[in-house]
Structures are given as C-alpha cells and as structure tokens.
Symmetry: C2
C-alpha cells in the first residue's frame, strides 16, 4: 500500500464525510482545534489538510466563524442562444439582452455595470480581430454582470474602431437595443468562432468576481465575423465554475 501523509489522511476523512452526506452542504466542519485533538497532531498539519479541501473547492472558511461545506447552485447559460434571434416584445424579458433574458427566465434578477473606453487591443484580441497591438485602437465595453446583486460574470467586448464609431456601441452605460448592439450598428454577424479555456482566475478576476479559493473559471472567447469573413467583435467572458452550467444543444442534420 502507498503510505499516506497525515495531512492526506485528515483530508480524506473529511472528504468522506462530505461525500457520504454526514457533512451536508452548508454545514460547519469541526474547528481546527477540534481536529488537532481528534487526530493528535499540530495545528499546522490540520491547516494543511483543510487547505487541500479548500483548493479542491469542497470547503470554504470565514475568519472567526469556521470552515463549512460549499454548495453549488449553478445558473444555466446557453451561449448558443443569440441576441439577434430573440423576439421578446413583452413581459419581463422585453428589451433584455440574451444573458439578462436567460437570467430572468430562471427567476433571478440581472443587472450590469458597463464601462466604455478606447484602448490598444490586448494581444489576444489583436490576434482575433487581425489588428496590430501598436498601431490600432479598439473600442472596449467592459461589463460586470450581477445576479441578485452578486457578481456573476465579467463580459468584455472589443470592437475595431471603424465598426463602433458613431454607433450605439459608443454609448456609455447599460444600453439595450432590440436585436443587439451589432445589428443596430449595421454589422450583421454571420459566423461565430467560440473558444473555451478552463483555468484558475487571476487575482484581479478573483477580486472582481468575489471568488473563494478553489473556484476555477471558464474563459469564453467569442469572435464574430460579418458576411465578408471579417472579424468585427470579440467578446471575452469570465464565468466562475461554481455559478454556471454552460449548455449547448445540437440537432443532428
């Protein structure tokens, strides 16, 4: 048998309690001191064992309170439901963009902070829009999306300057236009190229999204092309793994 460290044995014991239901989601775990007594070890070892579980995303902690079993209530997100295909003219979802409409449909309250600016394109954006990092300029709409006042998603859109200029895209704040900003700007997108990266968040993303340790994110990069095959928009979305289930549907031809 493989020898196991004491740290691993403590983590396993707690993990089993969580898996078996003995420690249900939301419940408080024994205190560090209690575990020290139970396993006859030092506090450092107990803390290392708990750190393992925190980094696995199973457990969270709050100073002065204790450790608890995390629970996940994920919102559904269907990136394949496009703005320009929405035809809602009445009811609570009227005027909402694709994301907000979906949140509303699940009985939750969406809102977003929007910041519009111009800047040099980051390398990842320049690549996809076929622009130059040094000489070109993009219009950026940075959005932080909330569900019931909790931050749920970073969604930053990048437009080549000539695409955005003089259109509703430049309007600061939370603008909604029927069919979406791109349609209104006269840039119909005929193809989307979507990439999904799964990774740990940067400290800045973790701060903005108020993530607890052990929460990975999906980085969803959508590049939209117009009829001539020119990339006209890049959207980079950062979605915490503990808050989303991403759904795709396919009908076989």
């Amino acid at each position: 048998m493989a020898e196991q460290t004491l740290t691993a044995r403590i983590a396993d014991a707690i993990r089993r309690d969580i898996a078996s239901g003995a420690a249900p989601p939301g419940s408080t775990l024994p205190s560090e001191e209690g575990l020290v007594a139970q396993f006859k070890t030092s506090r450092g070892t107990v803390r290392r064992a708990l750190a393992v579980l925190v980094n696995e995303g199973l457990v969270g902690s709050r100073a002065g309170r204790g450790y608890y079993v995390r629970q996940f209530e994920r919102l559904d997100w269907r990136p394949g439901k496009f703005e320009h295909l929405l035809h809602r003219r009445d009811g609570p979802e009227a005027g909402a963009d694709a994301w907000a409409a979906e949140v509303l449909a699940q009985g939750r309250q969406p809102s977003q902070e929007v910041d519009v600016s111009t800047a040099r394109p980051p390398a990842a954006v320049a690549d996809r829009l076929k622009l130059d990092t040094e000489s070109d300029i993009v219009v950026v709409r940075k959005r932080l999306r909330y569900v019931d006042e909790v931050p749920y998603q970073i969604a930053d859109s990048y437009y080549p300057q000539d695409v955005a200029e003089g259109t509703a895209i430049m309007i600061p704040g939370d603008v909604t236009v029927p069919g979406g900003l791109m349609s209104a700007a006269g840039h119909r997108q005929s193809r989307y190229f979507d990439e999904i990266f799964v990774r740990m968040p940067s400290p800045e993303e973790a701060f903005r999204l108020d993530l607890t340790a052990g929460t990975p994110v999906a980085e969803y990069v959508r590049t939209g092309f117009n009829g001539a095959g020119r990339p006209v928009r890049v959207i980079i979305t950062i979605s915490p793994g503990d808050r989303y289930r991403i759904i795709m549907e396919f009908d076989a031809e």
Copy 2:
C-alpha cells in the same frame, strides 16, 4: 491602501516576473532558501507564497529539482464535430473516432484504454437516462484517452441495457466502427443536450489524469436522444484545463 501580507507580496513579486517575461514558461524559479534570503523571512512563509502560485496554476514543483513556470500547449477539441458526420475512408484518420481523428489532424498520436462493464447507474446518469438507481442497469464503457502516451481525457459512456445488448457496444477493448457505435447499433441520435461544468478535479481524477495541483477540469456531459425523444446515451468527459481548448462554431441562420 490595503495592507498586504508578506506571503502575498512574495507571490505578487514572482507573479510579476512571470507576467513580464522575466521568468519565461519552463524556467526554474529561485529556490525556497534563496527566497528566504531575498525576503528575509522564514521558510514557512516562502512555501505559503509558492503554494498560492501553484494553486493558481502558474507554477509547478518537483521534489529535488525546484519550482518552475508552467507552460500550456492546448489541444483543440470540437465537441460539435460528430462521429456520424465523419466520412474519412482513407489516410491516417480512416477508422478513427471523432476525438482520435481530431488528435491525428493536429499531428499527435491518440490511443485509449477501454473497459466495458455493467453496473447500477450513478445518480447523475440515472437522471439523464430516466432510469432508476436501484432497479435499472447500464452498460458502461470507461475510456482513458492518451495523446502521445500522456493521459488527456476521461470519457465514460453509459447506455441503457436494452440499447447496448447484443451490439458492438458490448465488445471489450478499443472498437471503432464507421459512423460510431450508436449508428452501428441502430440507434440514430437526432438531438444532443450538452452540459459543461467547470470545477476542480476529485483526487481520483487528478490521479488518473496525472494532474498537477492548480489544474481545473471541464466536465462535459452529453446526453443523446433518439428520434422518439428517448435518451439513449450519456457521455461524461473530464478534460484538464491545461490540455484543452474547447471550440464551438456557429453559423447564423
């Protein structure tokens, strides 16, 4: 300004070196002892700082060697390219399933270990196949997929007993059938419902896939329905975030 702990300052300093290119991917970081001297602190603090970076997925370590900056070379995976749409009859990709064909197309060598068994359906599978955890039985094809001898993906398929019985699905080992196992078994799937969860791996998954700490996974659950709307297969795929870029393409109607 917010006070920062010494641990955070050390982690920030190293993170900056990585971001700026001063410590390029693959390079070795200063030793723990070196950082102790540089920051005039104890080894415990240095180790905590490095643990932060490891859990962010930026840094890895090997006993006796040192800490290094991780690099990512992701393989492309297009879950929307379906087996039954492949029509390759010659060349290296002939006879390969959808995943293997894509790996081959990227100049890499795919292989897989397959294990076929029958069992009670796990709750997640029973839900999606509309079966009962207690009374029903599923046929399970557990696959561990390798690229150039490195484990790259867990892909477990679950079939209701009556669907799999007496078909090629029951054949042990790495079977490939033109058009895929389901078509050959006479169960054409007309709709797919795909769910993506982003989370940290379980210890068992981390072991099987040989994951380093700080590597999240995408859990990709595909439910296939036949023409009558009955779910006939569930595939659960576990893909490490450091090895895959998931790609989706959409043509606007």
